[in-house]
Amino acid sequence: MSTDFPELTSESDADDLPPSPVNPLRDPSDRRLPRIAGPSGLVIFGVTGDLSRKKLMPAIYDLANRGLLPPGFSLVGFARREWDNEDFAQEVHDAVKEHARTPFREEVWQQLAKGMRFVHGTFDDDDAFDKLRATIEELDKAQGTGGNFAFYLSVPPKFFPTVVQQLKKHGLADPPQGSWRRAVIEKPFGHDLESAQELNKVVHEVFPRDEVFRIDHYLGKETVQNILALRFANQMFEPIWNRSYVDHVQITMAEDIGIGGRAGYYDGIGSARDVIQNHLLQLMALTAIEEPASFHPKALVAEKLKVLSAVKLPADLGRHTVRGQYAAGWQGGEEVVGYLDEDGIDPESKTDTYAAIKLEINNRRWAGVPFYLRTGKRLGRRVTEIAVVFQRAPYLPFDSYATEELGQNALVIRVQPDEGVTVRFGSKVPGTSFEVRDVTMDFAYGESFTESSPEAYERLILDVLLGDANLFPRHQEVELSWQILDPIERYWDTHGKPAQYAAGTWGPAEADEMLARDGRSWRRP
């Protein structure tokens, strides 16, 4: 990988957090007072979509219920449907009742409902955007949103150029003096380096770089943020977190579902672009980074860029990467069709629904330690985890039969579900003979912390409103990730076909062979 940091320095000035005037009621030691977003509103494009109903609306209500939204917070929906404000409020009400994590409270709802507006129209409709502008100005007067608005583009990427251009054309992207306008975009951030750069160009033409927030909801998860706490707040893990003790790292994200109704989006994209490029490379970066100088967004992104630019691909991609497609089979007691038989999929499709790759990170800490990344649909169960597998003890002072059942020590960060951390180590089996077997020591979030820890989207929406960019991948990270994945995709395009694996299993036999070549095997997550 190339080691230049794209435009890191040119952004350094714009990246500093805005100075805030001293508020006499705030004190750093007064930690009961939560961070409340300043006066602001959120405009959602594609508000009738699934994401908006299942995640965004409930997250906004939960934030309000926790008292983290400013008084007068406003929510504007934009979609083609011919709703008026009341219909929209009713829709949000239903979504909140069904999906919110905190109990429904009428007074919180009343506070929110006052600031709900709906604008109907298509993305190329100038009148609709004029109406949107009028709505925002009306909200500034009626709700005191102060001109601060975030535009959440919950729409397919092909509409991004139209929407951002419309925002620009109607003056919606230009903040009035002393306020801000932000853009929030969801993955996919392109499908290769070139398209990602193109997309960044389109968005950055209209919104300044530090006002663009890319949502990778994995980074909003408590377990992912906890990777940094685990590594940098503790003394006991960091000394062994390097090539002297770590044998290899396995990062897995498995889904038990198929592509469902997403055929149009999924075919031609595949699991590597859908998952490895963003989620898994981010998890790898957090697992591997050096300690950042601070938790300033600039410091953290600098460390992540260092790791991502130190990534080295295997010389022989054929031997160290595998892709697969699920074939018909039985999954958890249900008979399911293969990928090529799914509705809307070309029977000749070479799209991968499973991908496993081996990466190395060329720096002093990690040289020679392979990072195995795998993801797939229709695998055994839904699970995401990072397993740091340690080397075997250099010498075992026991009879060889005593340690036959002893595996390698491992530290497993369970990202979802059943969030927590597991440590695996050997222990003597009770009895008169001396025999060592693997046992686990377990920390579960559900046991030690609140049941109602904030959902990823809550945290991310709040951070957008606060302007805190720490949990959002920067455009340099996105581009570096494509630089890592592009050669693999190019190799796959010209070599062979995806291996078939039966639905409900842990992937194709080729993936097992890939690890067996290195003398290792996949964990069963």
Partner: protein
């Protein structure tokens, strides 16, 4: 699961707890703290219910200490420890032991509690009422990092603040302070939105509610301006006004549920500001177990530094006072008209409270 042990000891309770956990297949590993509730039979039910709800956020071992010293010499002579162990679904997420201490044992509760504390995990003591004069010097309080009292349950709630101030040690906290978090964060957010130079402040709320005084003292400390305390019919705190040269920043909550934030140059906005349940207050208290310096500063500021709203205010301040009355009349003009009358009626009560306050202070 519920296990009753009569005439028992701490080690038998420990053994029973471990057996109960084994039987239900869970471990103690996830519990993050021990909460000791010192209470009597009368309040035990409510306190345990609140702790139970709070344990959903903080899995913990709850030890309810119920002292039954006994009324007759015969009862006092019999020293006995009875325990009621609740694990599994009966105890929220955690485990609960109700400890009934009879006779002389009631004076040595710490000997029972100490062996039952979770290893390494922090300990919190909560007195739902009848808190000791010096929580940190109390034998049970001395075991804890965090000591929670509730001034509102005292005979003289406002006078109790002086007592809390005098005996304050790091780790003390009071639910009268916890009840303020919503107000404080909304006021801080208001100043975030509109950084203004505040010249004076007014807090309004029912009498016998020390939270009103604490809020005033906090504002006094943070803003360094005169703060006036006005007695209203409640419920709880009803309004806070921060005076700036452009007009008042007002947070008004007449019904204990929905607040209205008005700021100069901005439209009035509704904010949900519900009075919270005890379980929510306890859950908030357990979130941070380090000393709360902001509380310590607020509670140690003498209540006398708040201005009473009466005729003795100097002429200069009187104008302000009149302005307040005018604005009160304005905001309360509509359906809540009679509030003014209630307020007038309450004034003597405020004076009485002030008198009592002084008396308690002298006594302490």
């Amino acid at each position: 699961m519920k296990i009753d042990l009569t005439n028992t000891t701490s080690s038998k309770i420990n053994a029973a707890l471990m057996a109960a956990r084994r039987a239900s297949g869970s471990t103690a590993a996830g519990m993050v703290l021990t909460l000791v509730i010192v209470t009597d039979e009368g309040s035990a039910y409510d306190a345990l219910k609140a702790a139970n709800d709070a344990s959903r956020e903080h899995p913990m071992r709850t030890l309810a200490v119920i002292k039954r010293a006994g009324r007759s010499p015969r009862a006092r002579a019999e020293t006995r420890l009875d325990a009621e162990i609740l694990v599994g679904s009966d105890a929220g997420s955690g485990e609960t032991v109700v400890l009934r201490m009879h006779g002389e044992l009631a004076a040595h509760a710490q000997s029972v509690v100490l062996p039952l504390l979770l290893p390494d995990a922090p300990t919190v003591v909560w007195w739902p009422e009848n808190a000791p004069l010096h929580p940190a010097q109390d034998p049970l309080g001395a075991l804890a990092q965090r000591r929670i009292t509730d001034a509102v349950t005292a005979e003289s709630p406002v006078g109790q603040l002086a007592q809390r101030a005098q005996s304050y040690s790091p780790g003390d906290t009071d639910l009268a302070w916890t009840r303020l978090t919503g107000w404080r964060s909304m006021l801080a957010a208001a100043l975030d939105q509109r950084p203004s130079h505040i010249t004076a402040a007014v807090v309004e709320g029912e009498s016998y509610n020390p939270s009103v005084e604490l809020l005033g003292l906090w504002l006094l400390n943070r803003l360094h301006v005169p703060v006036e305390r006005i007695v209203t019919g409640g419920p709880g705190i009803t309004a806070v006004r921060l005076r700036t040269k452009d007009g008042d920043i007002t947070l008004d909550r007449p019904d204990g549920l929905m607040g209205m934030l008005s700021m100069p140059g901005s439209p009035d906005r509704q904010v949900a500001l519900k009075r919270r349940e005890t379980s929510e207050l306890i859950a908030e208290e357990l979130r941070r177990l380090d000393p709360d310096d902001i509380y310590s500063t607020a509670v140690r500021t003498p209540v006398e530094r708040l201005r009473e709203h009466d005729d003795t205010v100097p002429a200069a301040a009187e104008q302000i006072a009149q302005a307040v009355e005018a604005s009160v009349a304005e905001t309360d003009g509509g359906p809540t008209g009679p509030v003014g009358a209630v307020e007038a009626g309450k004034k003597p009560a405020a004076k009485k409270a002030a008198g009592k306050r002084a008396a308690t202070r002298d006594g302490a």
